[in-house]
């Protein structure tokens, strides 16, 4: 923002602005600063964990283990390699399924956004699948694909596509009238209009769709791993649940949550880097 403010001075003799410089700090200093900036959040987590520990000390660990037991379960899962193995399988399910969803969903959204006929033909199905609960699709997917990787990937993709398609379509359709007038004034062809205006204009909508779809894809992934062949993080949670190893189960749930948050955070960082103008526009 400081860059934008500085650029607003002067109407005639405009000088280039110096590149924004951040004071250089050593590694430990910036590490310390990171913690200091988040001191309230960290304190909140510490208090929560302490209360949990105190409250559950005399509770049967099968019902609710203490955080220290969960921590031990983490250590156990990591030293035995179980967690890493499950994580890699989950990552693989997500990567394939989500990638397919992004490609098909985006293409579908563009077609529906540009063609009224395509929108009318396709929208009932998009709405239908958007509303279908993930778990209801499981038996059908098993009948079609069995219990393996293909079935899990299919489920992940199927639950994620629709949010992407709907958001992309909306983004393409809302290209402002002002933009259309600019396209007319500078004699852009239909193809140029789509490539230079409608598509870039839709990017913020598409990114929002990718975020929503990501949440749905993680749910699809866990459901697939729990209900088909017990594998990945979903399978891990299920197996330890059946064995009443509650601390291990909770460790699996926490890993799934951290995984989802990390992927979402990574997406935000990438989109800020690649499309800096989106934040600038809304600021």
């Amino acid at each position: 923002m400081s860059k934008a403010n500085a650029a607003q001075i002067g109407t005639s003799a405009a000088a280039p602005l110096p590149a924004p410089t951040r004071p250089r700090r050593g590694f430990f200093q910036s590490f310390g600063a990171w913690f200091w900036d988040r001191r309230v959040q960290i304190l909140s987590v510490v208090i929560f964990l302490t209360l949990w520990e105190v409250a559950c000390r005399n509770v049967n660990p099968i019902l609710m283990p203490t955080p220290s037991r969960v921590f031990k379960a983490f250590a156990d899962l990591i030293t035995r390699g179980t967690l890493q193995e499950a994580f890699v399988i989950s990552l693989q399910d997500m990567a394939y399924g989500y990638f397919i969803a992004v490609v098909i969903g985006t293409a579908l959204g563009i077609v529906m956004g540009r063609s009224r006929t395509a929108e009318k033909v396709l929208s009932p199905y998009v709405s239908f699948f958007m509303a279908t609960p993930t778990i209801a699709l499981v038996p059908l997917v098993i009948i079609w694909f069995g219990f393996g990787l293909t079935a899990r990937v299919f489920l992940v993709a199927t639950v994620a596509i629709w949010a992407i398609a709907i958001n992309t379509m909306t983004g393409i359709k809302v290209t402002a009238r002002a933009m259309r007038e600019v396209a007319h004034a500078f004699r852009l062809s239909e193809q140029q209009y789509v490539r230079w205006m409608a598509l870039p204009n839709a990017i913020p909508y598409m990114l929002a769709g990718y975020r929503v779809a990501l949440g749905r894809a993680v749910v699809g992934m866990i459901v697939a791993e729990m209900t088909m062949e017990l594998t990945g993080l979903g399978g891990l949670v299920m197996i330890y649940g059946n064995a009443f190893k509650t601390a291990h189960l909770i460790a699996g749930v926490i890993t799934s949550a951290v995984f989802a948050v990390a992927v979402a955070g990574l997406m935000d960082i990438i989109s800020d880097r690649v499309f800096p103008w989106i934040k600038g526009q809304s600021a």
Partner: protein, 261 residues
Amino acid sequence: MEALIKVRGVRKVYPHRSTGRDLVALKGIDLDIAPNEFVCLLGPSGCGKTTLLKIMDGMIKPEAGTVTVGGKPILEALGDIGFVFQDVGLLAWRTVVSNVGLGLEARGLPKEERERLAAEYLKLVGLESFATYHPYQLSGGMQQRVGLARALAIKPKVLLMDEPFGAVDAMTRRGLQIELARIWEQNRVTVVFVTHDVDEALFLADRIVVMNMADVVKSVSVTLPRPRWTTDARTNPQYVALRTDLIGILESSGAVAGGTI
């Protein structure tokens, strides 16, 4: 001199479905604009001036009447017309230089050629050092100057400007008016400039076409000497007389004119 732009019997009606009472935006306008003339369309909001300007660029189709530019019907002359929008309409995802090159890119100019031209026009509006910035990093006044450079870069014969300085603060507006007058005196394209500001029209125009209620009320020649950005320009008796006349014309046509309308 033969007129460059000829507007003949242009009529535009906006239908109003729920009441059935249609809104007449233009009653049947005739207007001639000479080559290299700077014409301001002056009138209160809703008088039809922006509609007329958009018809002159083929953005809006009139119910009746024709517009020709250099003898050609409007849709064949589009390549000769540059347009500056009130809300600029820069592409947020493009850099400043790439925005200026938009029209050139649409015409298929090679990259080096259009970057050279875009840089040239950025220099003309005094923004050469902001070429690699994105629009959100510029102030409103600077964005409007990018919009002007973008329109000029296609080397139009006619420049149509739709209240381009309406959305900026008074001091920035003054700076932009001076900048436009300076550029126009170097490079006298034909300009049609829509405004509701009497002083802006007097500062820029060779001729002011006063509009109200979907019609042309009067055409007034502005014979004030140029440049007009000297501090005493507004106290010049000729300026004061013209200003009083214009406000009188607007008020007698039914517009409420308290100086700036």
